[in-house]
């Protein structure tokens, strides 16, 4: 998960230590959970897990933990 957390920290412009499963995507002050962040996250997840996430499913995620759950589900398909 390290590479994924580092990537998420970069997208949200926060310290890597700030990224935990509880990290709230919509509460970030420096970047919004907008289409730019979503597209960046799709690329990051593809790099880290070789899984292509659906934009709509990703947009509905509230926390980093939600994204991890989505990756786990998509990986099983």
């Amino acid at each position: 998960m390290t590479k994924f957390y580092e990537g998420m920290a970069e997208i949200f412009e926060v310290e890597p230590s700030a990224i935990t499963p509880a990290f709230e995507l919509t509460a970030a002050t420096t970047a919004d959970w907008d289409s730019l962040a979503i597209v960046s996250t799709i690329a990051l997840v593809d790099d880290c897990f070789n899984v292509t996430l659906d934009g709509e499913g990703l947009a509905a995620c509230k926390t980093v933990g939600d994204i991890e759950a989505l990756v786990a589900r998509a990986g099983k398909e």
Binding site: A31, S35, L36, I38, V39, S40, I42, A43, D46, D47, T52, L53, D54, G55, E56, L58, A59
Partner: protein, 354 residues
């Protein structure tokens, strides 16, 4: 061999004779957008899409005008008489009118005889390989000896100026490609195409109004605060589609043509978005010198982006020697199309301004 992902078609006996692109002289830098969106937001978007400057047509200039200028220049440089052209196909999503077809207007504009096949095709990002496939097939069957492909868009006219995701991304360009018979009948001379469609993605890149169905009346929550007369793009869904479809398309195109990926001189990708293109190139393990980008200078020019690469970044190569090109178009529809073919040395590969 990987699974087929579209119709696989071989076409022989036809070649590209020349290509000309015409871009508007009006150039817009990113500063133009800072006042509206704020310099920080503009910088965020630019970091992703990679557009530094783009060309936008003025109010009086349409795609047809850009294609007409490109066509006049192309015919002159090739030394083709206008009435030697047997067919003209206009590929665009920004025609002059809902009817009549812009191809008919261009036939008259260029002084082509009335013994001419002319019609429009409504395709965007995948349009150029589609047009090549059709034009070359028309030559192969004998339906036409010389074909002109007018491929272009002025998406700047349908972006919502308040939507930074699209307002900053798109640029305008009109191109004209000449196809004629090739007397080299070797296997190496055959063009290989893959053509596919998936209409389930229709509403992810759409102008909801202006045709004969009003999609803004649907329950689509994404359109709630959007102007239905303008282009709507769901960036996440488009990227998901691109990631799923483009890497296998590249792989399958090379396999079908029987030419290894690394034996292609260039892969010319539809210039969708720089971040996306870099990710795709990395995934397909394509080095930077094999995948030229011009989105930084012209933005996403829709169906014109592949021929515009041919008349800018690889123009010198195409006029000097024979190159093996992979052409990869993908997007609105969804629709995708690829080609692997040998091109050049071309009599003309130029970009002009209007």
């Amino acid at each position: 061999m990987s699974m087929p992902i579209g119709r696989e078609v071989r076409v022989g006996g036809a070649r590209i004779a020349g290509v000309v692109s015409c871009v508007p002289s009006r150039q817009l830098s990113n500063d133009h957008f800072s006042e509206r969106f704020g310099a920080d937001k503009v910088a965020d978007v630019i970091k992703m899409i990679g557009v530094q400057t783009r060309r936008w047509a003025d109010e009086a200039t349409t795609t047809r005008d850009l294609c007409r200028h490109a066509g006049q220049h192309l015919l002159a440089r090739l030394g083709w008489e206008a009435d030697s052209v047997d067919a003209l196909i206009f590929v665009s999503q920004t025609p002059d009118f809902r009817l009549p077809a812009t191809a008919c207007a261009l036939q008259a504009d260029l002084g082509i005889s009335t013994n001419c096949i002319a019609f429009d095709i409504n395709l965007g990002c995948s349009g150029y390989p589609y047009a090549l496939w059709l034009g070359m097939t028309m030559v192969q069957t004998g339906a036409a000896r010389r074909v002109l492909l007018a491929v272009g868009d002025t998406i700047s006219k349908i972006v919502d100026p308040a939507d930074r995701a699209t307002a900053l991304l798109f640029g305008d360009a009109g191109t004209m490609t000449a196809i004629d018979a090739s007397h080299d009948s070797s296997a190496e001379d055959q063009a290989h195409f893959i053509l596919g469609s998936d209409g389930r993605g229709a509403t992810n890149l759409i102008v909801p109004q202006g045709g004969f169905r009003d999609h803004s009346l649907s329950e689509d929550p994404r359109l709630a605060d959007k102007d239905p007369a303008c282009l709507y793009m769901d960036g996440g869904q488009i990227f998901n589609f691109t990631l799923r479809s483009v890497p296998p398309l590249v792989e399958r195109t090379a396999a079908f043509a029987g030419v290894a990926i690394e034996e292609h001189d260039y892969f010319l990708f539809h210039q969708a978005n720089l971040f996306m293109l870099k990710h795709l190139a990395k995934k397909a393990k394509l080095p930077a010198e094999q995948t030229p980008f011009n989105i930084d200078r012209f933005g996403n020019t829709s169906c014109a982006s592949i021929p515009l690469l041919m008349t800018t970044d690889v123009a010198d190569q195409l006029t000097q020697r024979r190159c093996r090109l992979g052409l990869i178009g993908f997007g609105v529809g969804y629709s995708w199309a690829s080609a692997s073919l040998s091109v050049g040395p071309l009599a003309v590969a130029e970009t002009i301004e209007r």
